[in-house]
Symmetry: D2
């Protein structure tokens, strides 16, 4: 079943809030998200800033100990401009450099404005236009910066950060066509989504991508009894796991451990096979290094598993229609 949902309220933390909609396993939701400052498709501020989330959506049958699969059917900017912060965050730079250059660089934190053209799939810097970048034009690459489920222990965790329930991971790989998997900690899973970026560099090192409101569509599947500990994802080429923490070293630990568990539990690898395969074939992507918790993503190519005669077809293939 497809639900067309028009949000009227938003949350800036993910928790066990009253669901805005109850859907069934297999259902699809078509809705929209506001930008990180709470402005909608018409640039109207409809809610306070701070990565406001559309949702939570209660998925019937999802219970603690299950995993919720969410296929990102569609992620599309629904207005013609977005904005970015102009300066690389000081936590991403050498501390001495921050102190030395604080006077040299323009300390204005004026936002930059970007024109977004979904038809031609371009994102063009329009303000300021007096830097050496002029009107830099980039290919549009829409992604969701912040999404996830209600966290464990009845917590409500700010959408400024992330943890095992997902949240503000700001990972460029969460794009249309991906299936994300979240551990279910609360009855109904309570899925939230927001913080769309028309494009973003690795790490979200200026603290933003090109922040913009989105039209979104996603489809749920409850994986009963499937245990997971951290967000996972799948696309046509890769399985991946996301670790959210600080320092990045701990993100690597979480993501790598989760991948070892996944390969053994679902793909039949013995421990030595899993360790050796990762040793020579693993890839890592860096999610955000701006938020309180950072993000690292651990990836393995599915064709490597298929080359071992392992059937990699999964709920992702069903949801992706592949």
């Amino acid at each position: 079943m497809v639900h067309h949902f028009e949000p009227t309220r938003y949350y800036t933390n993910m928790g066990t809030h009253e669901p805005v909609l109850r859907v069934k396993d297999g259902d699809t939701v078509v809705t929209s998200t506001v930008d990180a400052r709470g402005k909608d498709r018409t640039d109207t501020p409809v809610t306070p800033p701070g990565n406001p989330q559309t949702g939570p959506f209660h998925v019937d049958g999802a219970e603690p100990g299950d995993t919720l699969a969410v296929h990102l059917d569609m992620l599309t900017p629904n207005r013609r401009f977005g904005w970015t912060r102009p300066l690389v965050a000081p936590n991403v730079l050498d501390p001495d450099y921050v102190r030395e250059t604080a006077g040299e660089i323009d300390s204005r934190d004026d936002l930059c404005r970007w024109e977004v053209d979904p038809d031609h799939r371009t994102v063009t810097l329009v303000e300021p236009d007096d830097t050496r970048l002029g009107r830099l034009a980039l290919p549009m690459a829409p992604m969701t910066g912040c999404f996830g489920v209600a966290p464990d222990k009845g917590q409500a965790i700010s959408t400024a950060t992330s943890a095992s329930h997902g949240g503000n991971m700001d990972y460029r790989g969460f794009v249309e066509g991906v299936t994300a998997y979240f551990p279910v900690f609360a009855s109904g899973a309570l899925f939230h989504i927001g913080d769309g970026h028309a494009v973003q560099g690795d790490g979200e090192i200026v603290g933003t991508g090109v922040e913009i409101s989105f039209d979104v569509q996603f489809t749920f599947r409850v994986l009963k009894g499937k245990r997971s500990a951290w967000p996972r994802g799948e696309n046509a080429e890769y399985l991946f796991t996301a670790g959210n923490a600080r320092p990045l070293d701990q993100c690597v630990q979480h993501a790598t451990t989760e991948m070892l568990r996944w390969l053994q539990a679902d793909y039949g690898l013995d421990p030595r096979a899993a360790h050796t395969l990762l040793g020579q074939c693993v890839e890592y992507d860096m999610g955000n290094v701006f938020d309180p918790a950072y993000t690292m993503v651990c990836k393995i190519r599915k064709d490597l598993l298929r080359g071992l005669g392992i059937d990699t077809r999964s709920v992702h293939d069903e949801l992706a229609g592949t």
Copy 2:
């Protein structure tokens, strides 16, 4: 001038050792490296283990404050097998998982043996062959795990680790065709190279790639008066900088700061342009997360700069013959 050099001694630290050869700016060296355990192309142990380095090569005219460009003309395994460690290092895994699984996984630290076929460019697991991987075959992707120059302050730094002089970065991007740039700290730069891998996953998380001896060729250029603080690199598509430290967060700081400096000093970007460009376009690769110092690489596409009308031709293009 091309020098054919046959190494007879090796160092397991990078320092201001007596040069094995003195070459001129523009010269090329054709030589070989032993594997991480000190074994040569015939599997003969010719020097103690620990990433033994061929060199150091003294490049005339390179003085502290300059930058040494080294084009990796050729990196080729010169024997038919390599080896890996079998287990993901415990520092890459959740501490609780390490304690819980220490008994479950086979704690043997027997090396795995891989057959390397440079003609067909394949790397095939042959021992053990009783894991679920069977005889896993991977495409060959030769890289140097450890290379660099004499460090600052007259130090001699173990080839187990890395710092601003390069060293054991174990970054998959240091492949044939790349130009690496190192800050010069000692007269003659004193270039060292070793630790070839036929293939390696990101992070070198089992503590090795497929370790093997190499035939190598490289060409030097001294960039007089060009200041740099960390290893840099360039290939057809990217400029990149490497930060070596712990935690990974500090690697990100070093590499990002170095990239900001480079874009401003050599490519004419004003600070705001450099910050904004990185914000939406930067990419990061993870080098090693095994060695005492970890490595992160900060990258920017050169076509983005060319799109701004910036001439990106450099010594790399000369050396690469492009």
Copy 3:
């Protein structure tokens, strides 16, 4: 006014829960806390485990932007035994050592039992009694491991961890006679307290102190318009600030920054004076290194300030009756 409060429900996260009691600025509460596993003075499990908190207490007049002072009038174990975990947590040990010794050490995670004698102020190991420690007897040093206020942004944060609102800091310095200061993020501040330890080593490196139920008494004062960003504390000798995060480096940053702000805002030090004073006189204590967020405490002796002619009398002196 003194309130005698008998708790009937407990929370394992700190959030904007319905207050269990509303008190006024200056009021005192006499109540009790259960141990980390939810057992009370009679060893009866009265609530699920996980550092259950007594409270929250709503302090009239405390509003976001204020600081809540809480004087710990009394912290006393109210039963005759406590328990500890037996093994140093793996995150506190070298990863290689964890893997190497996982088989050697007894992997049982049986709790140790300690006899607590509040009259003689001793804490004595009684189970197991077959280690080289025999019946090790330690001086009792009661402290609260976990206390604080409702966090910012409407969050509800697990009592397994800590942040700017306080929480599970497991710092040995939060003892009877201390005044703790918390930034107020929610109307009424919403103070929680629990997780008493009869004694504890620095760092809480086995994941527990001697866990026990407490009788507690504390007195509130609202400091209107006094801004703070992190938990602070004061005793007869010291001012101190607590930073909660990972890695410990970031805890040091938070705590030191907070101390610089405090010395300048409340004690009239110019920036240079504050920096120079800390440079030669600062002290740091390590709070927990077990929980998701670690804790470091930055301290400065008050007699140093008095030596400069600065009046250090504060609400602490009033509450401490000194």
Copy 4:
């Protein structure tokens, strides 16, 4: 035998340099050290800056695998003034605070000058005298910031940093009367010492203590066959171990692991006893958080061991004459 040694050359890295003096097991050396900038007792610059070291001293019979005991018989400032840096290092502060305050605080990095009176054991700020500190007077507490032995693998490591061989730990606990223990990595151990501080805050957070030249006396003992992995120390009250790395979390891991090993190897504790004892009784001190490698110190009171009937007398007691 007592050697009176007048240094004429200094090293700014610790390595396998030609010894300046060869001494025997049990010998005592009386000598002097210059300050961190290479100035001697008369304020004459006699060597370049960078924590220049007196030594190395070759101790006959010390071989790799042994431990070198060095009793600090005497550490005394030998001139009347020292200097400090004025600003807390940016790596010790919140990155946002560094950027925000870079303009507010006086960015001059002028050194502060302190008058040192060894007779009255006071250290008094004399320049600048226009801050709120006026002429702040502190008790003298002399310590060595940087000392150690030649590192492993033939390395030469800058005296700006530290590792398993010791080095620039800047720990306030290395005072007169302490016995320090270093793992021996090179024949003769090759002991270096320098970087005296008349006083210093924890962490050396401004990058200096009160830097000054010293008269020093120390006595060596070779502990044949005694394995150690990190610097250790002993005073009348405590055994302690130092871990040097980044982040601080890793320092904690090194120091705690080393203490567990020490308690089991030398004091007969079974693993459970060692873990449980540390759990409730361990103390940590923070060494430097300024240098490339940070330092944490793990401590245990010797009277706790004596309370178990363990004989804690050691070479320290002989050297200390207690």
